[in-house]
Symmetry: D2
Subunit: 340 residues, 4 copies
């Protein structure tokens, strides 16, 4: 059964990759330089690997344009270069079916979804090619849209097949009025929400928009679905955490004073009008993210003196990036600082 | 000094009104019927009173069109018929200067800002005309807008002179990206907010949008300004309550990824771009709202058996309307209900 | 692997029970009457079943005193009569090892953990004896205590073997000072909490103390561990949700100004002093709770017109008992009520 | 009227002090050294000033034991040395009537209530003696206790005359059960709270216990009373902010399962049993705290390059000490840190 696979800390991406897709959003000089260094390194060390890029404008020497429809353009490894948004973008390139293992590099900044610093790319690639890399399967959510009469309804963007990594968010957008949304879980009516909107989030997305809206922080290795309201007109609306086997339906109330814009991982996908609905459930295609602990064999140590393989990237991130439970500042320190 | 006057439970609107402005938003039959009944009653009981209406299309026999610019169109009493939105609308008709005492009637539904049921209009008017009515001065906020270089900048709506009763809300609207807003209090930098937006609210508005965003409930007789973030990307952004003497400036960060739409009492007023700012402070013109306790002389009692003059409408409203601290339901009752 | 079993909506308690343990906390007349009715019913319908009671003082005719140590005192079914506290008590009677299926009856009031009304006992028992009853495996947490030097340390209560159904809560109790607790997840330091205390909760317990402290509501069929702070001196401490495979260690800081009392499902178990710690993880013995949907075959319908078998008790409970997202009250109704 | 005086940013403690009371809680070497330095300095610069200490054991040469009852032991200035707890302690020494202006020094650490670093004592004293010091009147709360039948009831601690600076907190303490408390405002029933307890806080106390329990941050120059629940068994209990003219009564419910311990500024005062109550209102004796901006004339600048007189200590403190809205850490910085 699928769900059992979600967390396989010791799972290894099988076999040595034969084709690599490079994904970037920004085209700044550091990003382009990094791509060049990658290409040179791959050609030298893994000469049989084919390298693809999704964007024709960016295809360099020795890089092929990736056309997902072509049968021999199967990708064994995705490499992202940029911020968290770049990995969300990579996920969206594979929004319809399965997604290959993803190796993400930050460009000198850390992000929540970015285990590796770009300077570590040699060792990171090695761990993948020699089979020692481990993977965190990050759950994705799949969506279906329905019309007023319950009929399945596609749109030109095919947003109904869009699998998200962070969340599906419904929001009143620039409407001055609140919207009314009926939420159902496994077909049973859960509640009627009068609010700015609702977020259906993965554990990965629990540190993104859901967190800002007041949601709990959920470890990404848990299989669960989080429902978080955005500015509800109710004192008693709390975030809910469901098993990944649940299906959540959000239906715009017939008398909702506003429609709801649907954002998928931050990209505006479409607008739902009164009577229309979306059903969200765990997708069959989680995104296999290569762990930072894959570098464990390395002799270098992390900033806190702990070998990276021993630590959970997530614990590090909620402390370093979110400043989780930052205690009221060591006061002596502050005083000292103030006096100098 | 003005602020001292904000709460004058025993203040009486001076003298017997000579001119009345009727304000309604909806034009449903019950509303129109109620207006007719009002007119008939006023003509009979207070024949010297002139009645105005702000909307030429609605002017009936014996009602004059109100033209704020005409010197002899001074209004001594505003009567609103409708929901909370109608009283916000009445406030906006006097958005520039002072506002006369407001007597608000609900059309059979209760609202937060609506002390009287339309069926009580005879007694309510009497209390005003015989001088026994008491008033709650609800604070309003006044705004000024500034351009990138700190220059005061008007717009075609003259939104800078708009006094609000609930709140000024800045929001990213339909932009997919968060905005960055620097908040200053009395000119001192308070914080940089990366969020969906910020709300500067009156105590009256503390039960409106600010409440949905997580703000505290502030009694309307307190003179204070509440700053509440909307979905901030920070774990440690809490609502703040300032004295009414504070001025709050919100400036869109130069590198904000989104502009901010400005809503005033729910009406979209304008958009602020990076570098532009708004300064909000207590206005000199609170809105004098006639209290439900004005009916105290009446022998009838409220639903809880307490004479209305003895109770604070606000305590009743947070319990009845917001279901404040609704205790987990009396379980025996539920059981009983379930079994029948 | 154990975790896979946590939610088996279609699991049936095997075989027809041969021994039943009756558990009650209160000894009021309605409870004693109900026990009599039970006994009469069982003797008549299931004459071969042996009935036990844990309390010698309460042993009635035809009821044996239950002595857990005696090998032939194996229990096939636990029946509880009372409130939520009674089922917590039943769980504590089996705090060391596995617990038989539990059938809980409320005495005319509903509770979160109480699917059946006492008047339904005939049909409820029948569904168990005829094998049609379904079970929700509610996760429990197991605890181990450690001394200052990491040595495992028992106490006279053997609290270290105590499996809890709701939560383990550490609290400063009546100490005027905050305590300092280091929290670790899977051995990795997570955070240092300066607070009134910390709660480690099951999904079942997420609607108990954790909810009051601000935690999310977690569906009981999810396998997860919730960590919720109690009044932390930090703006940025949020509830965390971990996979059930995690182990959470809470260690009183060496310089903590207060010790921490440990409550297990609301029972005070012991006090932890600076340097001492507790480790909490999912226990191997969840508690099999017989679902209300076991009555599905019945022709009667629930209060909302939905056959009970179709609905999830939990959705009903968070709405009916917690008044989840109670919308601001239908105002017309309130008005009506007020006027009569 | 008293309330108008609460915030007098330009108020100056009248006249040059003739008697000074030194208050410390800790007796560590740095504290004792600081006291010696103070004494030497005062003797040299202000030889006519009499110096008192409340604790006979600590009376040094030239220091008199302070006996509040003696008429000529009137104090013109209180000097505190230590943490926030020391100024709370100073307040409690004057818990019955008025309190003289307070000049608080931190011992090298900053605190919320501590404007001055001990090294600045010369300049700070000068500003007081030359009349340039300005004062923030921090509101205090006064309490009265009542028995089951509404009779005023003293206790041996005379806690009913105790004025608090932070808060009065009612808490179940080490009772395993929740307590039930009826809250009244100005005699009107507000709500029934089933919870761990309730906090009635001043704006000063809004950054203390109330903050940990989820309360808003209220500027200390506002006159207001904050009611914050501690772990309520309700989804819809929000913090409330009342005008300073309100009186709040908390009465332990007749069927409360637990009594409530009363803590006043963190000191356990007494226990309230079912039927007993406490009434809290703004006291007539706020505590005049000398502002850090009193050093404004000094040429030195604060750590942020702003002359101290220009900044509001409170804005500095919520940022520096509470790390208010600490934005998710500058990621480039973190990355840099991690890589070195
Ligand atoms: N008020 C808010 O907090 C809002 C948040 N968002 C989030 O932005 C995401 C889109 O990200 P971008 O395309 O990069 O837009 P963006 O460039 O506007 O960045 C959003 C921020 O969220 C961070 N982020 C993204 N995924 C994250 C995760 N799983 N955990 C922690 N932080 C994460 C990014 O690092 C970035 O700082 C959406 O999926 C949504 O979650 C979108 C709108 C409003
Ligand atoms: N997510 C949210 O809670 C949002 C709330 N609003 C609020 O709506 C207000 C505009 O109201 P309408 O024109 O009637 O729009 P609307 O017809 O969309 O109604 C908003 C709701 O807020 C209630 N309301 C208005 N003022 C209130 C107050 N002071 N206390 C308690 N409830 C109050 C109204 O009774 C109504 O139920 C804005 O001033 C803003 O406060 C606006 C947008 C989003
Ligand atoms: N401030 C708070 O909310 C506190 C809550 N508690 C809770 O009380 C529990 C002990 O219960 P009792 O022995 O009955 O003590 P009790 O008789 O004091 O009742 C506590 C209340 O919690 C309810 N409850 C128990 N388990 C629940 C669950 N899983 N979901 C929803 N409601 C639940 C009960 O129905 C009862 O209303 C503890 O496990 C703890 O969770 C204990 C202390 C403080
Ligand atoms: N869970 C919590 O947050 C609890 C907080 N307290 C607070 O502790 C206070 C007593 O303080 P101490 O005697 O020093 O006890 P303490 O030595 O235990 O210190 C409590 C902490 O609160 C800080 N503090 C005190 N007043 C403050 C204020 N007005 N604003 C910001 N921080 C403040 C102190 O600097 C110290 O860090 C009580 O008045 C109460 O507010 C007491 C119990 C629990």
């Amino acid at each position: 059964m699928l769900l059992l696979d979600f967390f396989c800390p010791s799972a290894h991406p099988t076999d040595s990759p034969k084709s690599v897709l490079i994904v970037n959003k920004l085209r700044t000089k550091p990003v382009l330089d990094a791509i060049h260094a990658f290409l040179a390194h791959i050609r030298l060390r893994y000469p049989h690997v084919r390298v693809y890029h999704p964007d024709s404008g960016s295809v360099a020497d020795g890089v092929d344009l990736w056309q997902p429809s072509e049968p021999d353009h199967k990708i064994d490894l995705v490499i992202t270069l940029g911020g968290d948004g770049t990995i969300l973008h990579a996920s969206s390139l594979f929004k319809v079916g399965a997604v290959p293992p993803v190796l993400s590099f930050s460009m000198g900044t850390l992000g929540f979804l970015l285990p590796f610093h770009v300077d570590d790319f040699g060792r990171a690639l090695e761990s993948v090619f020699n089979g020692s890399a481990t993977v965190l399967y990050r759950m994705r959510l799949a969506c279906e849209f329905f019309g007023k009469h319950g009929e399945k309804c596609n749109d030109e963007n095919n947003s109904q097949d869009w699998q998200v990594m962070n969340e599906v968010a419904l929001h009143r957008g620039s409407s001055p009025h609140l919207n009314t949304i009926d939420a159902f879980v496994d077909g049973q009516h859960l509640t009627e929400a009068v609010s700015d909107g609702l977020i259906v989030s993965t554990p990965t997305g629990s540190t993104a928009y859901s967190l800002s809206a007041g949601g709990p922080i959920v470890h990404p290795s848990l299989s669960a679905i989080v429902l978080t309201p955005i500015c509800p007109r109710s004192l008693s609306f709390r975030p809910l955490v469901f098993p990944a086997s649940s299906s959540i339906t959000l239906r715009i109330g017939d008398r909702s004073r506003a429609p709801a814009g649907v954002s998928m991982d931050g990209q505006v996908a479409r607008v739902l009008h009164p009577g229309e609905s979306i059903t969200v459930r765990a997708s069959a295609h989680p995104i296999p993210c290569i762990n930072r602990s894959s570098l464990a064999t390395s002799p270098t140590v992390g900033s806190e003196g702990v070998p990276p393989g021993k630590e959970d990237d997530w614990v590090r991130d909620i402390n370093n990036l979110l400043q989780y439970n930052a205690t009221f500042r060591s006061k002596a320190l502050t005083a000292h600082h103030n006096r100098n």
